[in-house]
């Protein structure tokens, strides 16, 4: 048996604000402990999805088992979990934290504490983690170690005197990080002889191996060949493979308490595999389950429809597989008069939405159309009933609505002094209410309450541009409040296009209605018939545009030899129509939809 006693295991997450260098630090730790040779090493080697590499951000948490010979002469197993920094992927962080006993809190010494530093460290504290602060990027001339240490103490309340000062990029002082892990983090506890209890942390679909599950063993042993049971779903399977990531996949005989690794078990139905579930032995089951994870609550919804209606089944399968790999994303069937059969999908934020859409396109080769993002409203009917509204198209008639509540968030925005004015103006424009404004050195931290609806609409981009990229943003849901909200319908030749309708505060409804009509006018090519585009609230038209009929479209010369060619051309035109959406006599090209739905005012 290769099993390591728990005293020689350390499990830790690397947490930080976006771009503070978590993945780069992971690279150095892997390299120094010999997990990969110099030739196998790439920058941010754990960011293995193309999207991650291209955008330079981590989306999925990754787990690596390191073997480290410490200064005390003993060999330790270090299970590292690299987590994403962006707020939209916080669910990845929270699940990783549940699988570990400690965290490395990485802070960029040139930037200092940012919004997501705070959010993540509070999560780690809640998870009862031992936290080792690490000051990164001290190679940068702008690094200010004493100031950032002070910040950590003042803002977070952590003792920073023992913070490890490193440069993940140059490799400076990385051995001190390894030593700190061994000496400062607690070992996991667990009973090797108790019935098996392992936490299902993550799962994904592999073309060759089927469903792969990432697990953390709490008690007992998880062996190849063993029959396991998923306690929540009740599904039972024989374990085919047990192993660890070094980060390469390495098969093992078994995993004991405190260990992390993967299993494959011929799990056919994606639904059998639910992250947060407890895995136990089928014949000798544990009596109680591990606490599991709080389910994630999507805050933004949009419709996803296949451009080619024949791809609906493929979309359904793909969503299932993707959901396996991302438990924070939700979907339910939806039908749209304009776009056909598709799914209403819920996300943790706009970046999350964008990433999922892109993954569906890339990993599953799907061409999709997405409707405008919408938040979840609460409709209070005059008859006293209350319902949640995920889709503006489903909004009931105004006469039966007593009032509508919309979700608010509490946003923390950290921004250098000189951009504060612009940020406050933006928040006020978006119906924000200031809660707090404090300073840490030359950085201001503004706490605002904002309607989520206003944040979904182009807020991040504006924030980034007005602060030249210096503002950082974090938010938490902060209840519902009544709002003066209206639904704006878009009509093409008097027919409402359900997929284009949206909900907005009355004060901005007209501006946005006009903007989308104007956009559609530019995007829809002239056609055989005149096209009227209107935006309306209830029966009242608030904006209109007209696209005049095409003036001329005819082949100039057509003789005997051209008949076959003309007929083929006609067939091709008919084929091309499949990529259009028909509204009465009007065809809207997909591209027009996509662009109009971007809504970047």
């Amino acid at each position: 048996m290769s099993n390591t006693p728990t005293s020689h295991i350390r499990n830790f997450s690397i947490i930080a604000h976006i771009d503070h260098g978590k993945s780069t630090l992971a690279d150095r730790l892997i390299q120094l402990t010999g997990g990969l040779t110099a030739r196998e090493m790439t920058e941010q080697v754990l960011d293995n999805m193309d999207i991650e590499k291209e955008r330079g951000i981590t989306i999925k948490a990754q787990t690596v088992r390191l073997t480290y010979k410490a200064l005390d002469g003993e060999t330790y197993i270090l299970n590292l979990m690299d987590t994403p920094g962006h707020v939209d992927f916080a669910y990845e962080v929270s699940r990783s934290l549940a699988a570990c006993e400690g965290s490395l809190l990485v802070v960029d010494a040139s930037q200092g504490v940012e919004a997501q530093t705070l959010a993540n460290v509070y999560q780690a504290i809640d998870a009862h983690h031992e936290i080792v602060p690490v000051l990164n990027k001290i190679d940068l001339p702008a690094a200010d170690v004493p100031r950032v240490k002070q910040q950590i103490e003042d803002v977070i309340g952590l003792d920073a005197s023992d913070a490890v000062e490193i440069s993940a990029k140059t490799g400076l002082n990385i051995p001190a990080v390894l030593e700190a892990l061994v000496t400062r983090l607690p070992a996991p506890s667990g009973d090797p002889d108790a019935p098996l209890k392992a936490l299902l942390i993550d799962s994904w679909y592999d073309q060759y191996l089927g469903v792969i599950a990432l697990v953390r063993v709490k008690d007992g042993r998880l062996k190849r060949g063993q029959r396991i049971r998923m306690m929540a779903t009740g599904a039972s399977h024989p374990v085919e493979q047990v192993g660890v990531f070094t980060p390469k996949m390495v098969a093992m005989d078994d995993l004991g308490p405190g260990e992390m690794g993967y299993i494959t078990a011929a799990i056919k139905t994606v639904a059998d595999c639910k992250v947060g579930d407890t895995i136990t032995d089928d014949r000798n089951p544990a009596t109680d389950m591990l606490p599991g994870f709080k389910p994630s609550v999507p805050v933004v919804w949009c419709g996803l429809f296949p451009i080619d209606a024949d791809d609906f089944e493929k979309l359904r399968d793909s969503l299932g597989k993707l959901r396996l790999n991302d438990a924070s994303f939700h979907y339910e069937a939806e039908t749209s008069a304009a776009l056909g059969f598709g799914y209403r999908c819920g996300f943790l934020g706009l970046l999350h939405l964008e990433i999922i859409q892109e993954r569906l396109t890339r990993e599953f080769d799907l061409d999709l159309i997405a409707t405008a993002p919408s938040v979840v409203y609460r409709i209070h009917r005059t008859n006293g009933a209350t319902e949640e509204l995920h889709n503006p198209a489903d909004m009931p008639d105004g006469s039966v609505i007593d009032h509508i509540d919309e979700p608010w968030i509490k946003a923390s925005i950290m921004v250098p002094d000189d951009h504060l004015g612009a940020v406050l103006t933006l928040c006020n424009e978006r119906r924000g209410q200031q809660v707090d404004l404090t300073y840490v050195g030359t950085r201001a931290m503004a706490v605002y309450r904002l309607p989520l609806n206003e944040v979904v609409f182009d807020f991040y981009d504006r924030l980034k541009s007005i602060s030249r990229g210096y503002a950082s943003f974090d938010y938490a849901m902060d209840g519902y409040e009544e709002g003066d909200l209206v639904r704006i319908s878009i009509l093409v030749n008097m027919e409402p296009v359900d997929a284009l309708s949206f909900i907005a505060h009355r004060s901005v409804a007209e501006t946005r209605g006009r903007s989308i009509c104007g956009k559609l006018k530019d995007l829809i090519p002239k056609q055989l018939f005149k096209i009227a585009i209107q935006a309306a609230i209830g029966g009242r038209v608030i904006a209109r545009e007209t696209i005049s009929a095409l003036s001329k479209d005819v082949t100039a010369k057509c003789y005997g030899g051209d008949i076959s060619r003309k007929r083929k051309l006609l067939d091709k035109q008919k084929e091309g129509k499949k990529r259009m959406r028909q509204f009465g006599k009007v065809e809207i090209p997909q591209t027009a939809f996509l662009a109009a739905l971007k809504m970047d005012a």
Binding site: L528, K552, D553, V554, T555, A556, K557, Y559, G560, S564
Partner: protein
């Protein structure tokens, strides 16, 4: 006896025009004797399987058929007359290029039996002729028209308009001059960028731009107005004639009658015992001749056209005509009623928009409908 229109393709030109995608080839020496022999053989081959026919027209098209020897034209006409029953007023047209015209040749064609010429003038403006890569100048073109009018009972010529940067006023001016030279028929085409031509490459590179759909429409309307003042009416989208002076051969295409096509790259629609066939000859003149010499025909495609496809083809040709489609003739030809071939909702929408009219006798496109015919067909044809 079923009617037949005969098309004879002559696939050679002195130079390739940059806008042209017709099957034309430039050769240092044209192998006249071999080509004529092959054309004669192919004509006989076609006649054998067609059986007795009322021959209503012959059209020598190209390429540049005015590069053919008048004696050779005479031989082919004589062959055709021998193989089919020529109507007494048979129309025999030859396409002529102003570059290759002199009085002697024109008389030779007339003596061979040609009774109509169609001259590729393209423009009366020097700058435009240069842009279009034509080898003749305006003077030669005018001379050819005048000569043709003296020698042939019927004559037409072609112009290409809606050229880059052409203004409405410029075109009216040029067209008026052309109308004063014309007899009773003109073909007036808006410049089309055909894939695979030199113009296609240059246009894609942005070297020049064509008028947009609005200016295109205005130019088209102006064309109709000017032509009407001279008594020429648009009986087809790009063809203008005095009553009775329409090209009978081209009407056969648009009315979707039988036509046989011989020569390199020629297409045909012919009724044989087992239905209507689409025929196509090999495009390369020498390969085509090889095939004819070996097998009697240079045909590379003989496909049966299904009734549904016949209906489509009849629609997309017939609606080009001002008089539209005769419903009885349509049903007789295709075996389908017009309502089986068109989308009723689109028909209603097009009628409402003033693009189509339909009564018990015919379906036709209005002037507004003909201007947008490609879009109309795209929604109408099933």
């Amino acid at each position: 006896m079923q009617s037949l229109a005969l098309y004879i393709h002559w696939p050679f030109c002195l130079a390739k025009c940059p806008y042209c995608d017709f099957n034309s080839h430039v050769r240092a020496r044209i192998p006249h004797a071999r080509m004529i022999a092959a054309l004669r053989r192919e004509l006989a081959f076609e006649a054998a399987r067609l059986g007795p026919r009322r021959l209503t027209s012959i059209f020598f098209g190209g390429g540049t058929p005015s590069l053919m020897e008048p004696g050779d034209v005479a031989i082919l006409i004589a062959d055709a007359r021998a193989l089919f029953s020529a109507e007494p007023d048979i129309e025999i047209t030859l396409e002529a290029n102003p570059t290759s015209i002199e009085a002697g040749r024109f008389r030779g064609y007339r003596d061979a039996g040609v009774n109509r010429v169609s001259i590729g003038v393209q423009s009366l403006r020097q700058a435009a002729l240069t842009f279009l890569g034509r080898e003749h100048d305006a003077g030669q073109a005018i001379a050819a028209i005048e000569l043709g009018r003296r020698i042939f009972p019927r004559i037409s010529f072609d112009l290409i308009y809606a050229r880059p940067a052409q203004s409405l006023a410029d075109w009216r001016d040029e067209l008026r001059q052309a109308l004063s030279l014309a007899a009773d028929h003109l073909s007036l085409y808006q410049l089309t960028i055909e894939p695979g031509t030199q113009f296609a490459t240059r246009h894609a590179r942005g070297e020049f731009a064509l008028p947009d759909d609005e200016l295109g429409a205005a130019l088209y309307d102006a064309t109709g107005e000017e032509a009407a003042r001279f008594g020429l009416l648009p009986y087809e989208i790009s063809n203008y004639a005095a009553a009775g002076a329409e090209s009978r051969h081209n009407l056969a295409y648009w009315r979707y009658h039988d036509y046989a096509g011989i020569g390199a790259g020629a297409h045909g629609r012919i009724s044989l015992v087992d239905g209507l066939f689409a025929t196509r000859r090999h495009r390369a003149p020498e390969v085509w001749a090889d095939l004819v010499e070996r097998e009697g025909s240079g045909s590379v495609e003989e496909t049966g056209v299904s009734p549904a496809d016949q209906a489509r083809e009849a629609l997309l040709m017939g609606l080009r005509l001002r008089d539209g489609i005769d419903l009885a003739a349509f049903a007789a030809r295709t075996g389908l009623g017009i309502d089986q071939a068109i989308d009723q909702e689109s028909l209603a929408a097009c009628v409402e928009a003033g693009y189509l009219t339909r009564d018990g006798v015919s379906l036709s496109a209005t002037a507004e409908g003909r201007k947008r015919l490609d879009s109309v067909l795209a929604v109408l044809v099933r």
